[in-house]
Point group: C2
Chain length 344, copies 2
């Protein structure tokens, strides 16, 4: 029921996802208003065949405050979808609903898997000159210590491998310079621990803001504050340049003529930065898989989020993460012991 459009986007997206997942036996449980869902399914037989409807009257509105939504969330379509992951009936929940409510409900039902994490980390798939880079956290954890940054690295790496099929994704820590002496304590400590630790990560080193769009590494790790601001600054910049371009190409008759002739090429360019082709960010760090779709996503975009969920569910992603998290915990405990010894 979530997102700006609800069933009229979600149901066609199921059919599109099935096409893209060709041959893989994926089934869908659609939570929400039975009447609306069945009406939408009647128009898309391929989706109807692979789906089952679970009725509920209750929905969380897109603009509800998360704390308020949480109090009355039980039995809503969002709650029921996440609950199915908890019971094992579903391998993943995908929602285009209220982000804050999805985070709060997911955390309440599934609980955090890693000790230091305050809230689930969100991954953004960022279009770059070389393809797609995963950037995390982009807005959940306001400040992150070295341990959390390493957790992001571990989770981001497993995500990128599962979804993009890169065997050994390269990892960069976002910083204000490439030199080891730069940056604040947390990021420098994280870099040292990753180098020392036995995580088997393909660590590249520090990267700077402009390295994201260059595609210098496959996974960019940063705290939620910096990541959120970087993401929104990039979106703002892209919109700014697009607005200037539109202004320029409609400024006079000659420009309009040129734009009309170049239209097919400009359209192809638009497709390369189409947000629907990278839609779908998993909430990482939970005991279970939850994928957030953009609220405004169209059927193509929501299908992409479904595909990401299916790819993650079919991968070794969860066991890879839990194994590396154990290494991390052991390492942090050891560091604590040796620190205590030094002090004693």
């Amino acid at each position: 029921m979530g997102g700006d459009h609800g069933p009229v986007v979600v149901v066609p997206a199921v059919a599109r996802a099935l096409e893209r997942l060709q041959g893989r036996k994926v089934r869908f449980i659609l939570h929400g208003d039975e009447k609306r869902l069945k009406a939408a399914l009647a128009r898309v037989p391929a989706a109807a065949e692979a789906s089952e409807v679970r009725h509920t009257d209750l929905v969380i509105a897109m603009d509800e405050k998360p704390a308020q939504a949480l109090r009355r969330s039980k039995g809503t379509s969002l709650w029921n979808a996440v609950e199915c992951v908890k019971t094992g009936e579903a391998q993943a929940a995908v929602s285009a609903g209220n982000t804050g409510a999805l985070m709060a409900v997911s955390k309440l039902i599934l609980r955090m898997a890693a000790p230091g994490l305050d809230r689930p980390a969100i991954v953004a798939s960022w279009p770059t000159l070389k393809g797609v880079t995963a950037v995390l956290d982009v807005g959940a954890n306001v400040s992150s210590d070295a341990r959390q940054l390493i957790e992001f690295a571990i989770m981001g790496e497993a995500f990128h491998r599962a979804v993009h099929g890169v065997k050994k994704p390269t990892i960069g820590l976002l910083n204000i310079g490439a030199e080891e002496v730069k940056g604040h304590d947390e990021v420098r400590e994280a870099a040292q621990l990753i180098r020392e630790g036995g995580f088997g990560l393909n660590y590249h080193g520090f990267v700077e803001g402009d390295d994201i769009a260059k595609g210098t590494v496959d996974v960019v790790v940063t705290d939620g504050f910096t990541g959120n601001i970087a993401l929104k600054t990039a979106e703002g910049t892209a919109r700014f340049v697009a607005a200037l371009l539109k202004d320029a190409l409609t400024s006079d008759l000659q420009a309009k003529l040129g734009a009309a002739i170049a239209y097919p090429a400009l359209k192809k360019m638009r497709a390369r930065i189409d947000p629907s082709s990278v839609n779908g960010g998993p909430l990482l760090g939970l005991n279970g898989l939850v994928v957030k779709s953009h609220g405004g996503a169209d059927a193509k975009g929501f299908a992409n989020a479904l595909k990401i969920a299916a790819d993650l569910a079919a991968s070794n992603y969860a066991s890879e993460i839990s194994q590396k998290m154990q290494t991390l915990t052991a390492m942090m405990d050891e560091a604590k012991v040796s620190k205590a010894e030094v002090q004693a």
Copy 2:
């Protein structure tokens, strides 16, 4: 002598700046190799008339490590330029040289004016849909407490008024959401203090990453870590979009034809995001005025940095800042006293 080009850019820039400063009696002291400077001046009589040359053999290279450069900086062209500000012979120093060295030398010679500042803050003039927004700090102070953020707000406001002639520039604190409950402690504390304090600032509230390019406020305040990453992320995004556009418009004959017809409009668009039109970032927080030009700036860009220096030197900028800084110090002292009282 600084920058990628040295006198062949600096000398023509002097003539351009004089044109833009028409009527204002500005004089220039050019520090560096006398032969090269005089040769360049011989070709630009307008610049020669307003300039005097101070010879030195010593220069700091663009790629020298700041710490190393600092040790042997005395008597270099960079040192001598900043020294002239200290002695009062010049009202401002402008350099396209090594940024780290310029910061270190300026700090050593002029000293920081504000108690909490570790290093000078750098302002970026950011092209937006509405004009130009000042963003600071963009890369000097790695972590900033609430007091430093307020100092940035005070300095950025005075800068924007002096250079862009806006009487009451609006100020936003960069955060991950517009609500008061969001963000980390430093940014929330700064917001509260600005609201309470008698700084006479036109405070707008929190802004997000995409508000920068929208031009939501005149001055965006943030710590040097986040500011640097936001700036470089925006540069990377703009280059990414430009690369895609170039790719698209050269992809086939039809696209090339369209681009050729739309060329005048595209050229005008380019001018709107021309970095030379916003070149020149003052190092704020020093006892004296130092303006950093981009190393790769052309004569037009370097002239812009000279114009900024002249505008700041002719304004009430310094006294405005020192007055508000006194208010801030009094307020912080009071807060300490009442805190101590509570504890007692």
